[in-house]
């Protein structure tokens, strides 16, 4: 690590003493670690070492040629990143199939939560990352802590909704349509498949929509559902918010809940992240790569 950064500063110094335009290009020679430190400064706050964010694979001293953002760094996303010549991947969700995200399980822990050390899928993914010189960093807590909450504004923008009722809230006013038509619009705008599931009154007229990308717990559902026409969430638990919405329907309220899939609901926010990265690193290409709706349903 020290050798790489001193190498970089030596080179930067040499170039800085030359013509100015070249010095600007030298500033692009950032390691993954330097990119992350810059992100840390830009996003602010204390970065907890105990949180989910951090390097998950690859060498942090790698010089970054391009950044790819994604909601979930699947192997297909990594393959596309290589094609797009992006070697730093910022992912909102884990890379190695769970919250532990590739960390060695506790001693003796080959339980349901642990990943076997010789797991062939994880091994192939690590080999692919190494062979292609990729660096994978999980950027979740610190990205969503931004005041603007780009996870919400990104989703709204992807759906073509711009009238945010209150800047501190995720409530939007949209042109009126039935719940059914609004769900069809969401499906088509986000290019979703079987991940979309809706509950409630399909004929309800939708004007006020609350966006809740990611996982939605009962508390915000109980507080907000009866004040809006539609909640758009990533995922909920069936015995919680799904049947709360079903009971509200039985009670005669005309509203609906639609879930898009956790990852699908987070993609627009990570697309927004790529846009923001371009303002932080104007000379570094940044691209969003979607993981796509994982789910399909037989037609027969």
């Amino acid at each position: 690590m020290p050798s790489a950064s001193s190498e970089l500063s030596r080179r930067s110094f040499a170039l800085l003493t030359a013509a100015a335009p070249i010095a600007l290009r030298a500033a692009e020679l950032l390691t993954a670690d330097a990119v992350v430190r810059r992100l840390q400064t830009e996003l602010g706050g204390e970065w907890s070492a105990a949180g989910p964010d951090g390097f998950k694979a690859g060498d942090p001293t790698t010089v970054v040629h391009g950044i790819a953002t994604t909601a979930m760094a699947t192997l297909d996303v990594l393959k596309q990143a290589v094609k797009a010549k992006a070697n730093l991947v910022l992912t909102y969700e884990p890379t190695f199939y769970g919250r532990a995200d590739g960390r060695t399980p506790a001693p003796g822990g080959r339980g349901p939560a642990g990943l076997a050390p010789d797991d062939p899928v994880a091994k192939a993914k690590r080999d692919f990352i190494e062979k292609n010189g990729l660096v994978v960093f999980r950027l979740r807590d610190h990205w969503q802590s931004r005041k603007q909450n780009d996870m919400v504004t990104g989703l709204a923008a992807a759906l073509g909704w711009s009238h945010r009722v209150n800047p501190d809230d995720a409530l939007y006013e949209i042109p009126p349509a039935t719940a059914e038509a609004t769900v069809a619009l969401i499906r088509s705008k986000l290019n979703l498949r079987a991940g979309v599931r809706a509950v409630g009154d399909r004929k309800a007229t939708v004007r006020r929509v609350l966006l809740h990308p990611g996982s939605m717990t009962p508390a915000p559902m109980w507080q907000r559902y009866s004040t809006v026409d539609l909640i758009v969430a990533g995922e909920v638990r069936e015995w919680e918010n799904t049947f709360y919405a079903a009971d509200i329907f039985t009670a005669g309220e005309k509203r609906a809940l639609v879930t898009l899939g956790r990852v699908a609901s987070e993609e627009p926010g990570m697309r927004a992240c790529a846009g923001w990265l371009k303002t932080v690193f104007p000379n570094l290409p940044a691209t969003w790569i979607g993981a796509g709706d994982p789910y399909w349903r037989p037609t027969a």
Partner: protein, 259 residues
Amino acid sequence: MTAREVLDLIQKTSGVPISERSYRDTFKIGGPDSTVTGIATTFMCTFDMMKRAHAAGLNMVIPHEDTFWTDRDDVKDLTDNALYKLKTEWAKQNNMIVWRDHDHLHSMKPDFTVVASLRSVGIKGGENAAMAPRIFTIPETTLGEFAAQVKRLTGSRAFRCVGDPKARVSKILLGPGYATPRMTAEADVVIGGEQQEADGGFDNVEYVMDAASLGMAKGVIMLGHAISEQPGMEDYANWLRTFIHDIPIQFVPVVEPFW
């Protein structure tokens, strides 16, 4: 007949104690001294289902899942909630009793929810299955054909499948409800009710997407929680009828809420 007498018979016949430490297996509405006119078994005590049970003259509901939209049925934040008030007031006016059988049921061997879920997806040989999942081998087929068969048999509308439809599969691992098993080296297909999609204990969805990208034959099928566990509550009603004879007993299913 009192609710207490119903519980005593359930406990005695199953040979499995109803644990007083379980926060799940408790009365949610009414109590042990309430008089039972008839029993309705179901997946979850939804408002709609409770109304249909009442219309059928059955005032005791035995759901496998919750009544007030959290596993603990913790209502301290719901006292001012209009839906909570409506549901509880309606239930009291109609002398309804709700007692949940979850932990006790999953301790039974065989476990009705597992046996019936296996049967509902067309897997044979699961008559003695209990909660710990084991692999069932089916004649080799494609994931696409198997998924189509499972969807048709279960009637699940919100059915979701991950993996390559052309992958050839035969080893099936099933766990109903939220007990969706993790993918293993041996299994080709994991079937469950629902699971947190990412950032959980083990993320089947991403794992199967990556396995498919590597050309490995792996699939995951999410039936929906109600679709996967409710068939077991029909078996439960049939079981109750073998030892409770004086009052009507019916399976009153929750309708799959998704469209």
